[in-house]
């Protein structure tokens, strides 16, 4: 007992323990409460206890109707799907824009790298809300981005592709939503990619070139596979928050772009149906946690390989 106590108090377990305590108190515990609410029955405005004692019998009441309802009502399924769709498109765009950016940053002269890194992080110095709000002005009529896009006729193409409802109407469309999300989450893609690419051993590229690979082939056969961990980390950092994004769809999205965050908000604050809202939240968290767990496992295996 004594040994167990001293083991508990020593520095090592404290260092490991603090994050666990944090997660326990601020994630697992609230999550369990949300789970409890999702299977609770409402009695007017209060939740009924799950465990009740009636006639000397303990009874446990779990109400799964919300979970069943979620699978039956099309709304939830389609919004989950569209959330994942927009998040995936955003992730792909971030990767396409972020990879070259991170690549050239990592290959830039060591003296200019801190400055480039600063430029990536600079947007964080302003509130995220303000920056997203600013896009509203830029994309509305008379905003200079609006003028530029309509000026070169790009809005015709966007409208033809169904990304905006009609030419000259950039705001509140899938286009403005994805633009806003890509803009916001790009640094989260660039930073892990940069840290991965800057650690790469450049002699491997020389070795590939020496063995007859053109720079293009060396990039695809050596650089890209070796940056897989960075690609996955960046994609997870973009995809996961994008799925549950509420603010950006609210400010930049439109009627076409209903996402799960909005549904969650409506259930909580418009319908006041807390068990239903909790159910949506639980399913969303699980949908995000499972890929994350898979990623962590993959990451651990990749680390093992590197040693």
């Amino acid at each position: 007992m004594k040994a167990w106590l001293s083991g508990l108090i020593n520095g090592r377990s404290a260092v490991i323990g603090i994050p666990y305590v944090w997660l326990l108190v601020f994630f697992l515990f609230p999550f369990l409460i949300v789970m409890k609410i999702s299977v609770s029955e409402m009695d007017g405005v209060v939740f009924k206890d799950l465990v009740s004692v009636t006639d000397d019998a303990i009874s446990l009441t779990l109400k799964f109707s919300n979970y069943i309802f979620i699978t039956q009502d099309d709304l939830y399924f389609t919004t989950y799907l569209s959330s994942i769709k927009y998040a995936a498109v955003t992730t792909a765009l971030c990767l396409i824009l972020g990879y070259p950016f991170a690549y050239f940053m990592a290959r830039a002269k060591p003296t200019v790298q801190p400055a480039l890194l600063m430029l990536v992080m600079l947007p964080f110095w302003t509130s995220f809300l303000l920056r997203v709000y600013a896009w509203k002005g830029l994309l509305s009529e008379n905003g200079w981005v609006y003028d530029a896009i309509t000026g070169i006729g790009l809005d015709q193409w966007l409208a033809a592709g169904g990304l905006i409802s009609s030419p000259g109407q950039l705001m509140n469309s899938p286009f403005s939503l994805v633009l806003g999300m890509t803009y916001t989450y790009l640094p989260f893609m660039i930073l892990p990619l940069y840290s991965n690419l800057s650690k790469m051993d450049l002699r491997l590229l020389e070795a590939a070139t020496d063995l007859g690979a053109t720079p293009f082939v060396a990039f695809w056969t050596i650089t890209v596979p070796l940056s897989k961990a960075g690609i996955i980390a960046g994609s997870m950092l973009v995809l996961i928050p994008c799925v549950g994004e509420f603010v950006i769809p609210e400010l930049l999205g439109g009627p076409q772009t209903l996402m799960i965050g909005r549904v969650l908000w409506d259930e909580f604050f418009s319908n006041n149906d807390w068990p239903m809202a909790s159910t949506v939240a639980v399913v969303m968290v699980l949908l995000i946690l499972v890929p994350l767990a898979i990623f962590n496992k993959y990451q651990a295996e990749a680390n093992e390989v590197r040693q």
Binding site: T209, A213, T221, R306
Partner: protein
């Protein structure tokens, strides 16, 4: 093999100039890392570039591989000018320092990498990779990743990978630098055997003179971007051209002196502690300052003056008395540090041919050193 046929201009290529380097210069912002080097290497030769770090040997190798563009000069291999050819088109392969094996590929795929780039048919790739694995005796490890191999095994994978495309020239960058001493000695011989079996011409870079002497058929001593001396290992060791080379290769005693008697068949050189009788003529004039280089193993040491042998001269020449200031026991030989009257320390290496020799020299003993008339090299530069 369906590798692209190598150009065979045949008689046009001088066999001694299989690889021909002319006036090669590499200028890094005003610093000449490689300064006007010309060199001919014959087919099948193992040529070593030897020098301390920063002497330009790696830059020279990287220019051969195509990773650095020469500021001036030309590189011609087998009659083809490579100066403007990108590295991925050059008919040569390199074994990198610490190997640069691709960590995400298996041993098999590492070796196959170059063959795949050459667009060889699948079955020919498989045959060639298996042949290479057999050559370096790593067949069992084909499906391992590089990090699952020991240093020596990784080294052999790197060798197999660089030989797989049957290069016209093999470049080795510090091939054994990452191995520990014991393994290095074993691998030196093995590496040379493999290279000679394959019959590939080879240029290696090393800072380890033992490695260069053991492996190379010829070597060049480099310093500050220039060749100081080019020759067979034995020639460079026994007849170094300059003080720097004598000092850089092996151990040497350097004594300053003046040429006091210049005859056709011998010369006498006066140094602070002794007079040297050199059994051959040198180009010089009486009274000029020279340096006498004397290898430690060419000096004999004894408590009393050892009886003359090999035509050692009489009259107090080629001998000196001193005090044993230090001795280092190396097992097969012992190095004595003999303090001379002028304060100079003469290094003498003696083979330990007997066990527990009676009357062994020890610290503080007075001893005589003597050497034969052809033991020295007289350096005028």
């Amino acid at each position: 093999m369906s590798l692209p046929p190598t150009t065979q201009p045949g008689s046009a290529v001088d066999p001694a100039g299989y690889l021909s380097i002319r006036g090669l210069v590499k200028d890094f912002d005003g610093y000449k890392a490689v300064n006007n080097i010309s060199l001919d290497i014959a087919k099948g030769e193992i040529f070593a570039l030897l020098g301390s770090s920063g002497c330009g040997k790696s830059t020279l190798l990287r220019m051969l591989a195509g990773f650095e563009t020469p500021t001036a000069g030309s590189i011609v291999l087998n009659g083809r000018d490579l100066s403007t050819m990108p590295p991925y088109e050059r008919p040569m392969n390199m074994m990198f320092q610490s190997y640069a094996l691709f960590p995400h590929l298996t041993v098999w795929d590492n070796i196959a990498f170059g063959l795949r780039r050459a667009k060889m048919p699948r079955d020919e790739i498989a045959a060639q990779v298996d042949a290479m694995l057999k050559l370096v005796q790593l067949g069992k490890f084909a499906q391992r990743k590089p990090h699952q191999l020991s240093g020596g095994q990784q080294q052999r994978v790197a060798l197999a990978r660089s030989l797989a495309k049957k290069p016209q020239l093999l470049l080795l960058d510090e091939p054994l630098g990452a191995l520990d001493k014991k393994l290095r000695e074993e691998t030196q011989i093995e590496l040379v055997n493999i290279i000679e079996n394959v019959g590939v011409t080879c240029v290696m870079v090393t800072h380890d003179q033992e490695e260069a002497m053991t492996m190379a058929s010829r070597l060049a001593v480099m310093s500050e971007g220039r060749f100081l001396q080019v020759g067979a290992p034995g020639d460079i060791y026994e007849t170094p051209a300059t003080r720097f080379v004598a000092d850089f290769i092996g151990n040497v005693n350097l004594m300053e002196g003046t040429l006091s008697d210049d005859q056709v068949d011998h010369v006498i050189i006066d140094c602070a502690d002794c007079r040297h009788y050199v059994g051959h003529g040198i180009t010089g004039t009486e009274g000029m300052a020279v340096t006498v280089a004397l290898r430690p193993e060419k000096i004999r040491i004894g408590r009393d003056l050892l009886p003359p042998q090999d035509g050692e001269p009489e009259g107090g020449l080629n001998r000196v008395q001193g005090t044993v200031k230090d001795l280092s026991y190396f097992g097969s030989f012992t190095v004595y540090h003999l303090a001379l009257a002028s304060g100079m320390v003469l290094k003498i290496s003696a083979s330990n041919t007997e066990r527990h020799r009676a009357d062994e020299l020890t610290w503080g003993d007075s001893a005589w050193a003597s050497w034969s008339p052809d033991a020295h090299v007289v350096l005028t530069a």
